[in-house]
Symmetry: C2
Subunit: 160 residues, 2 copies
């Protein structure tokens, strides 16, 4: 079975793609993708595992001579989340790059508890089931969050 994000892949390509799309989207919207924001986005994309704000902070602090303040990172992350370029994984207090920026944003994730990889979904059945359950109770949906903790295919079969 093909995996959404194989453990082995050309990740540099993922990063370049993400930055390119971010440039295009922000350009079209008139949003300012400043150097700090762009760099934070790049650091979020370090892997397909959600990264904590302080991990990104440490990276930033290492490259510049002077240490970066937490607020710098949080403000950049806030911008990136607003622009739909980054998602926040609530159950991990961490951030991951969006694979479909500018498009649908269901906020559905399969998070592997072994390797830490988070795969983003936009499953229409899930989306619709939640919408129906909520509106059936008179609840106005603003931001649905689905985070499924479990074991990804690659981590289920150690011998293969």
């Amino acid at each position: 079975m093909p995996h959404a994000v194989p453990h082995q892949h050309d990740h540099a390509h993922c990063i370049i793609d993400a930055l390119t799309r971010a440039d295009a989207l922000c350009g079209a919207r008139g949003a300012r993708l400043t150097s700090v924001r762009r760099r934070v986005l790049e650091l979020v994309w370090t892997s397909h595992r959600p990264r904590g704000a302080y991990a990104i902070l440490d990276d930033l602090s290492q490259e510049g001579g002077k240490p970066t303040a937490p607020l710098t990172v949080y403000r950049a992350l806030e911008f990136l989340v607003e622009q739909g370029l980054v998602h926040r994984i609530e159950s991990l207090n961490a951030y991951i790059g969006c694979i479909t920026p500018g498009g649908a944003h269901a906020g559905q994730f399969l998070v592997c508890e072994r390797c830490g990889t988070a795969v983003e979904l936009d499953d229409p059945c899930v989306r619709e089931a939640i919408r129906a359950a909520a509106t059936g109770r008179g609840f106005l949906v603003h931001r649905p969050t689905v985070e499924v903790c479990g074991v990804c295919p690659d981590c289920q079969e150690p011998s293969l």
Copy 2:
């Protein structure tokens, strides 16, 4: 339309019910619902809004002469979550009493961003849609989390 948890209701009854069920469940399981744990459960049930660990901590510190340590609360919460008596709302870093302890635990919540009330669901369509989406990708579900941020019926119509 009837609401799952009306703003006006006999909440003392909710608390008594929750404690009674907790006593019965722990008794049947041989789990020790000690005085601290029971008191924390009661404080979680202060309202139908998720409460932070430190809010509970403050309550505990006020009643006893000496301040309570965070660990005391976190250990009690850990026990209560393990026993299925309390749920953790990931998106709020807060805790809320389970309305169906001992039964199904889908971990689905409608969280009102105005009044803070969280209503627990166990919608079979949502549950099944998530299961299907995950297993269809070879993902082994361990703990699904659904937290829908939005506006509850009571908060949608200020004039009524």
